[in-house]
C-alpha cells in the first residue's frame, strides 16, 4: 500500500515536471538581472507571460525593432500581468548576456519585462520544451499553463521581412483576451517559430 502511494506520488512528479497545456505549469526558480531569486510561485494569483528571448536572434530583433514586443509588455504589465523574459542561451553562445548587459538592453530597447531571468543551464527551457526565440507561454491565475507557442501567425520567414507586425494575428493577445473573458482559447498550442534556443 505504501509503495502504491509512493508510486502515485512519483508518477505525479514525473507528470507535473514537464509542461502540458491545461495542466499546472511546472514551477521554477531562477536569478533575475539583479541577482535576486525569482520563483514562479511568487506570482500565484496573477497571470504570467513567459517570453523566451535572445537579443541577437533576427526574429527577436525584428519584434523589438518594430516595438511590437515592447508595446505588448507595456500593455500587459500595466494591467498587473507578470512578464518574464527568459534567456536560456549558454555562456559563449548567441544571446547570452551578463546582468549589466541585460539591464542596459532593457533600458536601450525601452522594454518593460517584470523580470529578466537567466536559465544558463537550460533546465527551465527544457522543462517547458521551449524551442525557439521568441517562444511564448501564458500561465493563468491558477498556475495553469494556458498557451504555448508562437507570438503571432507570421511564422518562419514571413516574420522576418514582413513590413507590419501589428497586422499579424497575435496569439498572445488573443489568448489573454480569451482568459479575461473566461472563454476557451481557440489556439492554445501553436507552432513556435524563430531561432533555435542556444542551449548548452
Amino acid at each position: 500500500m505504501k509503495f502504491k502511494i509512493l508510486f502515485v506520488f512519483l508518477l505525479n512528479l514525473v507528470l507535473f515536471s514537464s509542461a502540458k497545456i491545461d495542466n499546472t505549469a511546472p514551477g521554477f526558480t531562477l536569478k533575475n538581472e539583479y541577482g535576486e531569486l525569482i520563483s514562479l510561485s511568487d506570482f500565484s494569483g496573477k497571470t504570467v507571460i513567459l517570453e523566451w528571448t535572445n537579443h541577437e536572434c533576427p526574429f527577436v530583433k525584428r519584434h523589438y525593432e518594430t516595438e511590437n514586443m515592447q508595446s505588448l509588455q507595456k500593455e500587459y504589465t500595466a494591467d498587473d500581468v507578470i512578464w518574464l523574459s527568459i534567456i536560456s542561451s549558454a555562456p559563449n553562445k548567441q544571446g547570452y548576456v551578463t546582468n549589466q548587459e541585460s539591464i542596459k538592453l532593457t533600458t536601450n530597447r525601452n522594454a518593460s519585462p517584470t523580470h529578466v531571468l537567466f536559465d544558463t543551464e537550460g533546465v527551465v527551457g527544457k522543462k517547458y520544451d521551449a524551442k525557439t526565440t521568441p517562444h511564448m507561454y501564458i500561465i493563468d491565475k491558477n498556475e495553469v499553463l494556458r498557451y504555448d507557442g508562437a507570438i503571432d501567425d507570421l511564422g518562419m520567414t514571413g516574420a522576418l521581412f514582413s513590413t507590419d507586425l501589428s497586422l499579424a494575428k497575435n496569439y498572445v493577445r488573443l489568448a489573454i483576451n480569451s482568459i479575461a473573458d473566461n472563454k476557451e482559447i481557440t489556439n492554445k498550442k501553436t507552432r513556435p517559430y524563430g531561432c533555435s534556443i542556444k542551449y548548452p
Binding site: C57, K131, L160
Partner: protein
C-alpha cells in the same frame, strides 16, 4: 556563322550572380539558348558560406524556408520551386531540416513566345550555422535574342533534380500501429529518415529507430493523420502521403464506443426486415410458453442466445482466419460470394414458404417453436443460428462503423466487438432467460399470431427476391435460373415432408429430388460479365487525375447487397443534389463492391474501413479526402457540398 553570333550574343548577356554576406545565388540551367517556346527546366542555386545551411519547406524546430517573390507579373510563367530531399541538421535538443553548403531548388519557366522579356525575382532566406542571419536579394531573369541569362551547369542541376522525392514504390509499406509509424522497404538503412511536412506528426527531435529494413517513428499521442512528408531510403527520397484517419463524422471510434455501437447495432438488427420474421418466431414460441414454468422459459431463451452467440463467433473466427491468411476481405465479404448469396436466398425463400403455408413439418422445422423437450432445445439453438445467418446481409448503420473498426484491430479486439454485437442481437431473449417472469407482459397468443406469421412469410420471400437481385448482378442469367430451380425443388421437398405418408418413402423422394437436381444442374455459377468502363466508375488512376487537376470528386463506395447503401442512394441522391454536383463541377465516382475487388478493398483500408457504405469527398482546399457520415440525408449532402 550562326554559332559565332550565338557565342557573341551569349557574351553580351552574362549570367547573373547575386551576392549576400553568406550566400551566392544564381539561376542555373541545362542550356541557355532557347530554340522553341515551351517549358524550360531551371534551378535557383544557393552557394552558402561553407558549413552554413538554409532550410527545407519544413525547417524543423527553428528557422524558415526560402521565399521567392515576383515583383512585376510573371511573364515567364515561373513555377513554384520543388524541394529536394533535405538533410538532418540537429542542434540538440532541437532538430532542424535543411541543406548545408549548397542547394539547388529546381523550377520551370513556360515560355509562350520567344520575345525578349525580363523579370525581377526577390528572394528572402535564412542562412544559419549556430546563429541565423536573414538575407535577401534580387535576381533578374532575362530573355534576350533567345538567350536566357542563366549559368549552364547541367551536372549540378541533374544532381539536384535527382534529389527530388520520387513516387513511393508499391513495395514501400507504411503501417500505423498504435501510435507508431513503421516504414518497411528494401532500401531502408541506418541513414534513413522520415521528414514530415507538418509539426503535427511527431517531435522532430525524437529518434527514428531503424531495425533491418524497417524504420519506426513514434507519433504524438493525438496524431490522427495524415502522414505526409518524404522518406530517405538508400540514395533516394520518396513522397509519403497516407491519410490514415478520418477527419469528419464520428468515425474515430475508440474501443468502448465500438463495443457500445456493436451492442446497439445488434439490438437494431432484430428489426431488420430479413431478421424480424425469424426472431418473431422465437418470440411467438416464448409467448406460447407463457403458461409453462419459469425454468423452462429461461432454458429455452438461454439456448437461443447460445445459438446466436456461437454462430456469430463462428462467423467472426472464419473472418479473422481468412484475414490473417492474407485474404482481402471486409465486412460483407460473405455476400460477395455468389454461392453464399444463392444458398441464403434458397434458405430464406423456404423459411418464407413455411411461415406462409403454416406447414407443419412434423419432425423438423416446426420444432422451432416447440416446448421444453430436448428437440425443442435443439430447435431453439438453430433458430438462433438461423437468425444470425439471415441477418448477415443487413449491416445496420451502426454496425458499419463498429465492424469496420473491428476488422482493422488486433484479433482479440475484433472478437470482443463481434461478441458485443452477438450479445446485443440476443439481448431481448437474454432478458427472458434471466427474468422469465417478464413473459407475462407479452400479449396473449391468438389469431393475430397466425396473421402476422403469414405477413412475415411474405416479407421473407421479399428478402429472398432482394438476394436474387444481388445475384443477378453477380452471375449470368443461366446461372440465375439454376438458382431459381433450386427454389422450386426446395419448395417441393418441403411439401413432400409435410405430407402424412410413410417416412421411408418421403426420404426416398427427397433423396431422388436432390440428387436429380444436382446431376442435372451445374452449380459452378458463372460470373456475370461486368461493364466497368462507364465514366463514373471509380479507378485509382482516375481519382489521381482529378486530384492533379484540382477538380473536386465524390466517391460512393457501395454494393448491391448493402441495404444501407440502397437506402442512402434513394433518400439522399436527389435531383437537387445531382444539380449541385453539376454546378460545383464535382465528379461523381462509383466504386461498386458487389463483387470482390482488391483495388476497392485497398482503397477502403486507406480510410480504415472495411465495408460499405463509405462516402468520400475531396476538393482542392483539402489535403486529404474527407469521409462523410454513413447515413446520408439530402440536407447533409448539400451542406457538405456547399463547403466547396
Amino acid at each position: 556563322m550562326r554559332i559565332f553570333w550565338a557565342i557573341l550574343l551569349n557574351l553580351a548577356i552574362h549570367a547573373e550572380v547575386a551576392r549576400t554576406d553568406n550566400a551566392e545565388i544564381s539561376i542555373i540551367g541545362f542550356n541557355n539558348y532557347i530554340e522553341t517556346p515551351g517549358e524550360v527546366q531551371l534551378g535557383y542555386r544557393f552557394k552558402l558560406t561553407p558549413g552554413w545551411h538554409t532550410y527545407w519547406i519544413n525547417p524543423g524546430d527553428s528557422g524558415g524556408p526560402v521565399e521567392f517573390i515576383f515583383t512585376e507579373g510573371n511573364a515567364f510563367n515561373i513555377s513554384d520551386i520543388s524541394w529536394p530531399g533535405p538533410e538532418k541538421i540537429p542542434y540538440p535538443p532541437l532538430m532542424t531540416y535543411g541543406y548545408t553548403d549548397e542547394v539547388v531548388f529546381p523550377f520551370t519557366i513556360d515560355l509562350k513566345d520567344l520575345e525578349d522579356k525580363e523579370i525581377t525575382i526577390k528572394t528572402r532566406f535564412l542562412v544559419c550555422d549556430e546563429i541565423c542571419i536573414p538575407e535577401q536579394t534580387e535576381l533578374v531573369l532575362l530573355l534576350k535574342n533567345q538567350f536566357l541569362n542563366v549559368t549552364q551547369n547541367s551536372s549540378l542541376l541533374s544532381r539536384w533534380l535527382g534529389r527530388l522525392p520520387l513516387r513511393a514504390p508499391p513495395d514501400l509499406e507504411i503501417k500505423k500501429e498504435q501510435q507508431k509509424l513503421a516504414f518497411s522497404f528494401n532500401d531502408i538503412d541506418e541513414e534513413s529518415y522520415y521528414f514530415p511536412i507538418s509539426d503535427k506528426e511527431f517531435d522532430f527531435s525524437s529518434s527514428q529507430l531503424q531495425i533491418d529494413n524497417t524504420l519506426n517513428v513514434e507519433l504524438y499521442p493525438d496524431f490522427t493523420g495524415p502522414a505526409q512528408g518524404i522518406l530517405k531510403a538508400g540514395a533516394n527520397y520518396y513522397t509519403i502521403d497516407v491519410p490514415f484517419a478520418e477527419n469528419y463524422s464520428a468515425n474515430q471510434l475508440n474501443l468502448i464506443m465500438a463495443i457500445v455501437f456493436a451492442f446497439i447495432g445488434g439490438l437494431i438488427l432484430n428489426l431488420m426486415p430479413c431478421v424480424l420474421p425469424v426472431v418473431a418466431l422465437k418470440a411467438f414460441s416464448l409467448v406460447k410458453s407463457a403458461e409453462e414454468s419459469n425454468t423452462s422459459v429461461a432454458i429455452n431463451a438461454l439456448v437461443y442466445v447460445l445459438g446466436v452467440v456461437l454462430t456469430f463467433m463462428g462467423i467472426a473466427v472464419t473472418l479473422l482466419v481468412l484475414k490473417n491468411s492474407g485474404e482481402l476481405i471486409g465486412w460483407g465479404y460473405q455476400l460477395q460470394s455468389p454461392i453464399v448469396v444463392s444458398s441464403l436466398s434458397i434458405l430464406i425463400f423456404l423459411v418464407g414458404l413455411i411461415l406462409l403455408g403454416n406447414i407443419s413439418l412434423g419432425s423438423t422445422l416446426s420444432k422451432l417453436e416447440n416446448k421444453n423437450n430436448s428437440q425443442g432445445l435443439v430447435g431453439s439453438f438453430f433458430t438462433g443460428a438461423l437468425s444470425v445467418i439471415v441477418a448477415s446481409p443487413c449491416t445496420a448503420p451502426f454496425m458499419g462503423a463498429a465492424l469496420g473498426f473491428a476488422l482493422v484491430q488486433p484479433d482479440i479486439i475484433s472478437l470482443s466487438i463481434f461478441f458485443s454485437l452477438a450479445i446485443g442481437f440476443a439481448a431481448p431473449y437474454f432478458l427472458f432467460a434471466i427474468k422469465p417472469d417478464l413473459i407475462r407482459f407479452l400479449p396473449k397468443p391468438g389469431i393475430w399470431m397466425e396473421q402476422l406469421k403469414q405477413l412475415f412469410g411474405l416479407m421473407m420471400i421479399g428478402a429472398a427476391l432482394w438476394l436474387l437481385w444481388v445475384l443477378s448482378l453477380q452471375i449470368s442469367a443461366d446461372s440465375l435460373i439454376v438458382v431459381l430451380i433450386a427454389w422450386f425443388v426446395g419448395g417441393l421437398i418441403i411439401w413432400i415432408i409435410s405430407q402424412t405418408i410413410n417416412i421411408a418413402f418421403k426420404f426416398g423422394v427427397v433423396f431422388l429430388l436432390v440428387t436429380g437436381y444436382l446431376t442435372i444442374f451445374d452449380w459452378n455459377l458463372e460470373k456475370k460479365e461486368l461493364q466497368t468502363d462507364s465514366v463514373n466508375t471509380w479507378k485509382t488512376e482516375y481519382e489521381q487525375e482529378l486530384r492533379l487537376s484540382d477538380s473536386p470528386y465524390f466517391i460512393n463506395f457501395t454494393a448491391a447487397w448493402c441495404i444501407t447503401c440502397q437506402v442512402n442512394e434513394a433518400i439522399a441522391f436527389t435531383n437537387t443534389v445531382e444539380e449541385k454536383f453539376k454546378i460545383k463541377g464535382i465528379t461523381y465516382l462509383k466504386a461498386d463492391w458487389t463483387n470482390r475487388d482488391e483495388s476497392i478493398f485497398k482503397e477502403l483500408q486507406k480510410y480504415q474501413r472495411s465495408g460499405v457504405p463509405t462516402y468520400v469527398l475531396w476538393h482542392a482546399k483539402l489535403n486529404e479526402p474527407i469521409l462523410l457520415n454513413e447515413v446520408l440525408t439530402e440536407s447533409y449532402l448539400l451542406r457538405m457540398i456547399d463547403e466547396i
